[in-house]
C-alpha cells in the first residue's frame, strides 16, 4: 500500500468526504485528463455565463454565475498544472482501478433502465434490472438470483407504491387495476 494513498487499505477509497480517494503526491490514471476536461468545461460555462448579461451591472443575473465559473476555471486550471507535475501511480491502470468493465456495465444497465422505465413500466424494468444485476454480481444459480431479485422487488414495490404511495410508471402492466383489485379484496375481507 502506497503511504501517500488517501483511501483505506481495503481499497474502498473515497467513501468519505473526510478522506476522499486519490493520492497526495501522485496522479492516478486519467486524473490529468479529468482535470483538463474540468478546465475546458469551466471555460465553456464561463463563456455561457458571460452571455447571460455581460458586464451590465454587479447585481445583474449573470454576476454570480460569471464569478463562480471564473473560480471554477481558475481552480481547475491550477489543479491541471499541479496534476501534470506529479508522477504517475505505477501499479494502477485506468481499466483496472478507475473504470473497470463492471462499472461501465452498470452505467449501461442504468441507461437502459432509464430508457425502458416509461414504455415497460417500473415493475418489469426493475425486475429485469435486479435479476441481471444480481446474476452478474453474485454469480449464483438462477433459483437464488430470481428469488432474491423478485423478493426484493415485491418488498420495494409494497413499501414505495403502496405505503409511500409513490407514483411509478405502470407501463404495459395493468398496475392500477391490480391495486384496485387488491384493495377491493381487502375491503371485502374487512366487511
Amino acid at each position: 500500500m502506497d503511504p501517500d494513498f488517501r483511501g483505506d487499505s481495503d481499497h474502498h477509497d473515497g467513501t468519505s468526504d473526510a478522506t476522499p480517494g486519490g493520492y497526495i503526491e501522485q496522479r492516478r490514471p486519467g486524473e490529468l485528463g479529468f482535470a483538463i476536461f474540468l478546465t475546458l468545461a469551466s471555460l465553456f460555462l464561463l463563456y455561457n455565463a458571460y452571455g447571460i448579461s455581460g458586464f451590465k451591472a454587479l447585481s445583474s443575473p449573470g454576476s454570480v454565475p460569471m464569478a463562480t465559473t471564473l473560480v471554477m476555471a481558475v481552480s481547475a486550471f491550477i489543479v491541471t498544472l499541479r496534476t501534470s507535475r506529479l508522477s504517475k501511480v505505477a501499479h494502477e491502470t485506468l481499466s483496472k482501478d478507475i473504470l473497470p468493465i463492471m462499472v461501465i456495465l452498470f452505467i449501461g444497465f442504468l441507461i437502459i433502465f432509464g430508457l425502458l422505465l416509461k414504455p415497460l413500466g417500473f415493475v418489469l424494468t426493475a425486475a429485469l434490472f435486479l435479476t441481471v444485476a444480481i446474476k452478474v454480481l453474485a454469480r449464483k444459480g438462477w433459483g437464488y438470483t430470481l428469488t432474491v431479485a423478485l423478493g426484493s422487488l415485491v418488498v420495494i414495490w409494497i413499501v414505495f407504491r403502496v405505503v409511500f404511495t409513490v407514483l411509478l410508471p405502470a407501463g404495459i402492466l395493468p398496475e392500477a387495476e391490480f391495486i384496485q383489485f387488491f384493495r377491493n379484496l381487502m375491503s371485502g375481507g374487512a366487511s
Binding site: 480517494g21 454570480v64 444497465f109 454480481l137 453474485a138
Partner: protein, 498 residues
C-alpha cells in the same frame, strides 16, 4: 410546548424509533450512508406532513452517525465516514475479544455526546437566531462563502479541489430562470433546463449512485467476524472516561456548528485531541485504547446537535445531511433561518424533542440485538448495490415524476464517481447547490444597497465588526493553504502537530 409534541403523539414517536433503528443499520452497512439515505428519503416523504417527515429523518441521522461505529469495531469497515476514527482502536479491541465492551462504551458515549450536542443546540440556537436577525445581506453572503470554503479546506487535502467543487455546486444551483429577472441561466435554450436541476437528483446521484458504483470494486470483500461478550459497560468505566468525553463533546459541538463541517471531521479532530491529552493510556492508541473509542464517538454524535445550530438559525447547513434537511424543509414550505425561529419556534423545539428521543432510542437499540445485527450487516454487496441503484432511480423519479431527473441523477452519479476517485470532495458541491440561491440573492441585495459600488461594499465590510470577522475568516482559509503559513506553523508548533 412543542418540545413535548414528539412525546405525546405515538405516531411521531414510532417514526423517530423506526428512523433511529433503520439509521443504525444504514449507518452500519458498508456502502449505505446516512446522506444517501436521507437524500433518497426526501423524495418519498415530500407528500407527508412536515412533522412525520422530520421525525423519520432526524431518527435516521442520529442512528446513522452511531451505526457506523458498529461495523468499524466488528468488521474494521467504518459504516459511515464519521466512524473512520472509531475503527482505529475499535477493531483492535474486537480482535482481542473485547468487541462487546467496545460496542457498549461506544453506545453509552455516543448517547452522552448526543445529549450534550442537543443541550447546546437548545440553549445556544435561540441566542444565535436573535443575533442573526441583525445580519446584513453581505454577512449572509460571507457566511455562505465561508461554509463552502470550510468544508472544502477541511474535508480534502486540496483546497483548490474543494473550491472547485463548491463553485460547481453554486453554478448547478443557478441553472434555470433567475427568480428576480426571469433571465435564463445555463439553460442552453432547452425548455427542460428552465426549471433548473432538481437538487434531489444531484444529491442522490452524488451520494447514492457514485457510492454504489464505487462499491462495485469491493463486491467480494469478506468481513471478519468477532466474538461478542458483555455489552453494558460498568459505571466505573463510564465515570473514568467522563472528563475526556466532556472535552471531545465540546469539540464535536463546535466542529458540527461550523458551517460545512460534520461528524467525520469532528471525530478525527477529537481522536487527535485524545491522543495529545492522554499521556499514559493503558493500551497504546491504534492497538485498542479505550480513549481512542470514546473521543470520536462522543464527538461525532455531539456534532449532530451542533450541525443543527447554523441550519436552524442561519439557514446554512452544518454538514451534508443538514444540507439535505434544509432541502426537506424547503419542500415543506419552510425557510430555515432566523425568521423561522421567530415565526415558527414550534418547529425548532419539535426538532430538539425529536433529536432527544432519537438519542434515547439509539441507546436502547445500541445495547440490544447485536447478534442479529452482525447477520444483517453481512448482507452480500451483490444484493445491496443493485438495491441502492434501484432506490436511487425510484427516489429521483418520484419527486417530479420525471425521467429527466433520472438522467440528471445518473449523470451526476458518474461525475461524482470520478470526483471521488481523483480526490475532489463531494460535500462542497451539495453545499454549493443548497447555498446558491442564498448567496446569489444576498450578493445582489448587498451590492444594490451599496448602489453598485464595490468600494462602498468593502467599506461596509471593514466598518462592521461581524462582516470584518467573517471576511478575515475567509481570507485566513486561503492564507492557511500557503507555504508561508505551513512554514510558520511548523516553526511555532513543531512538525508533529502540523
Amino acid at each position: 410546548m412543542a418540545i413535548l409534541t414528539i412525546f405525546t403523539q405515538p405516531q411521531l414517536l414510532l417514526l423517530v424509533g423506526v428512523g433511529t433503528f433503520a439509521g443504525i443499520y444504514i449507518g452500519a452497512i458498508p456502502g449505505l450512508s446516512v446522506t444517501m439515505a436521507v437524500s433518497i428519503l426526501i423524495s418519498f416523504t415530500f407528500s407527508w406532513d412536515v412533522y412525520p417527515a422530520i421525525s423519520l429523518m432526524v431518527g435516521i441521522y442520529m442512528g446513522g452517525v452511531y451505526g457506523g461505529s458498529r461495523t468499524a469495531i466488528l468488521l474494521n469497515i467504518p459504516g459511515a465516514p464519521s466512524a473512520i476514527a472509531t475503527a482505529m482502536d475499535g477493531y483492535p479491541m474486537a480482535q482481542k475479544g473485547e468487541a462487546g465492551q467496545a460496542i457498549g462504551v461506544t453506545t453509552v458515549m455516543s448517547f452522552f455526546g448526543g445529549l450534550i450536542g442537543i443541550l447546546v443546540l437548545a440553549v445556544a440556537a435561540p441566542f444565535v437566531a436573535d443575533f442573526a436577525i441583525t445580519f446584513q445581506p453581505r454577512d449572509y453572503m460571507l457566511l455562505a462563502v465561508l461554509g463552502i470554503l470550510l468544508v472544502g479546506s477541511l474535508s480534502s487535502g486540496s483546497l483548490v479541489k474543494g473550491i472547485f467543487a463548491g463553485a460547481l455546486g453554486i453554478a448547478i444551483g443557478a441553472v434555470g430562470r433567475d427568480p428576480l429577472t426571469f433571465a435564463e441561466r445555463f439553460t442552453f435554450d432547452l425548455k427542460l433546463m428552465e426549471g433548473g436541476i432538481s437538487f434531489i437528483a444531484v444529491m442522490i446521484g452524488m451520494f447514492g449512485v457514485s457510492e454504489a458504483l464505487q462499491q462495485l470494486q469491493n463486491v467480494n470483500m469478506k468481513a471478519v467476524r468477532q466474538k461478542i461478550d458483555k455489552i453494558v459497560p460498568s459505571f466505573g468505566t463510564v465515570k473514568k472516561y467522563l472528563p475526556l468525553s466532556l472535552q471531545t463533546s465540546s469539540i464535536g459541538v463546535i466542529i458540527g456548528a461550523l458551517p460545512g463541517t460534520g461528524g467525520d471531521i469532528a471525530a478525527l479532530m477529537a481522536y487527535d485531541h485524545a491522543k495529545r491529552v492522554t499521556k499514559n493510556p493503558e493500551v497504546p492508541f491504534g492497538k485498542g485504547a479505550m480513549e481512542g473509542l470514546v473521543a470520536p464517538e462522543t464527538a461525532n454524535n455531539a456534532a449532530v446537535g451542533g450541525a443543527f445550530i447554523p441550519m436552524m438559525t442561519l439557514g446554512i447547513p452544518g454538514d451534508a445531511v443538514t444540507a439535505i434537511m434544509i432541502g426537506a424543509l424547503f419542500i415543506h414550505g419552510l425557510n430555515p433561518g432566523p425568521m423561522l425561529m421567530v415565526d415558527q419556534p414550534d418547529m425548532f423545539w419539535f426538532i430538539v424533542g425529536a433529536l432527544l428521543m432519537a438519542n434515547v432510542f439509539m441507546l436502547i437499540f445500541g445495547l440490544t440485538g447485536i447478534k442479529i445485527f452482525t447477520k444483517i450487516v453481512e448482507m452480500p454487496r451483490s444484493i445491496i448495490i443493485p438495491l441502492i441503484l434501484l432506490l436511487s432511480i425510484v427516489g429521483a423519479y418520484a419527486v417530479n415524476n420525471s425521467i429527466t431527473d433520472v438522467y440528471w441523477m445518473l449523470g451526476f452519479g458518474v461525475f461524482g464517481y470520478f470526483m471521488r476517485h481523483y480526490g475532489y470532495p463531494l460535500g462542497p458541491v451539495i453545499l454549493g447547490v443548497i447555498l446558491s440561491r442564498l448567496l446569489d440573492d444576498n450578493w445582489r441585495r448587498a451590492i444594490i444597497s451599496e448602489r453598485e459600488d464595490l468600494g462602498r461594499f468593502f467599506e461596509g465590510i471593514i466598518t462592521s465588526p461581524l462582516s470584518l470577522s467573517l471576511f478575515i475568516a475567509v481570507i485566513l482559509i486561503f492564507v492557511s493553504q500557503t507555504p508561508v503559513w505551513t512554514a510558520a506553523k511548523t516553526r511555532l508548533f513543531g512538525k508533529a502537530s502540523s
